[in-house]
Point group: C2
Chain length 209, copies 2
Amino acid sequence: MNAATAPKKPSFKQQQMQFRENAILDSVNRLLSQKGFDLMTMDEVAADVGIAKASLYKHFPSKESLAAASMTRLLDHSLAVVNQVPSHLSSKDKLKLVVRWGITLHIQGEMPYLPSTRSSIQQALLGHPPYIERLQDLTTQLGEWILDAQEKGQLSAALPAEVILYSIFARACDPMADFLKMGGAFTDSDIIDLLVHTCFDGLTPLRVD
Amino acid sequence: MNAATAPKKPSFKQQQMQFRENAILDSVNRLLSQKGFDLMTMDEVAADVGIAKASLYKHFPSKESLAAASMTRLLDHSLAVVNQVPSHLSSKDKLKLVVRWGITLHIQGEMPYLPSTRSSIQQALLGHPPYIERLQDLTTQLGEWILDAQEKGQLSAALPAEVILYSIFARACDPMADFLKMGGAFTDSDIIDLLVHTCFDGLTPLRVD
DNA sequence: GTCTATAAACCGATAGAC
DNA sequence: GTCTATCGGTTTATAGAC
């Protein structure tokens, strides 16, 4: 075993490839957000990146794998956000920050839009270990905050933790943001505040403590 | 002007056509719910109804018009539900009943799934006067209940009525119902209750009056 | 109106030269 | 790896006989 044969650095070629793949995923992310998986075409992605379609297939073997890679990077981003949440906040406020971040991404057109009930793309996600792994990590971290917030009476203990978790996920792709944006009566900042509020406090008047 | 030339009754042929078109829209409704607009094909619709694809185009000129007709019939159904809500209920409880009905339809696989941000299908809806008319009727009726509930302190007066309206619409296609159903830990009835609850009361503990 | 057959366009994926 | 060119399959929509 010679130490010289061990990989020392990622080499220029590999770095270039990583950079190119990141640029591809940037385009995919935006196109997935704007048009959704079904209407996004590989020709569009290639044109948006500025390379030929055949070159695209040298980096990713299929359209589904592109979407899976995009979603995996999104989860990486989510985990980074979760890990940077100020530790002095209450668990409920931590969750609020995460919801706010997801809604912000959505309204900025950077939230991939994958149909929830679809075979080909969903199987691609389930068959993509990096995605599953990160999803479990994120679920674990959010789950801890949820249970803590429930124990401390910040979130309803009557609700199954699963419901709170899915509710948080669902808010990141809530069409209400699109409706309000189309209406044009509110700024993006207003819309974000309104969605975060209705997510946690619903539509009923707030209690006066 | 001879009275005999005036249309007396819808004639057997017209009645048959109406019946056939209703059967078509039944299939479209279910397919739109299961697969969404993009993945629903005209071949599937024709096969499901039991007629040839060319016959389908004798009734509806395009795929978009099919979806528009399906959505229009859904709004008709919604208006019928709204008009049958018991008048002795409070405005908030009336709205709750409507939300419950929408979620029930969703979880039963009878809620057409149209992408909210799509040009071709959205323009088809906007260019379909019957749809627009019914949407305005529904908005007007729900808007009255919302304002009344806000005046009486049943719903938050701090929220724009628009936000409450869109929130109610959005709950009918909330992916949380699909997530919970996939998990398999809850019955359909449980899921409906949970979604209605989180829609109106959010995730925070209920106040004890 | 209903059918069979087909046109016309689009899309995912690949071949092969460089 | 990147390109041009193209294959193979699918989809919307229509033509034309009955």
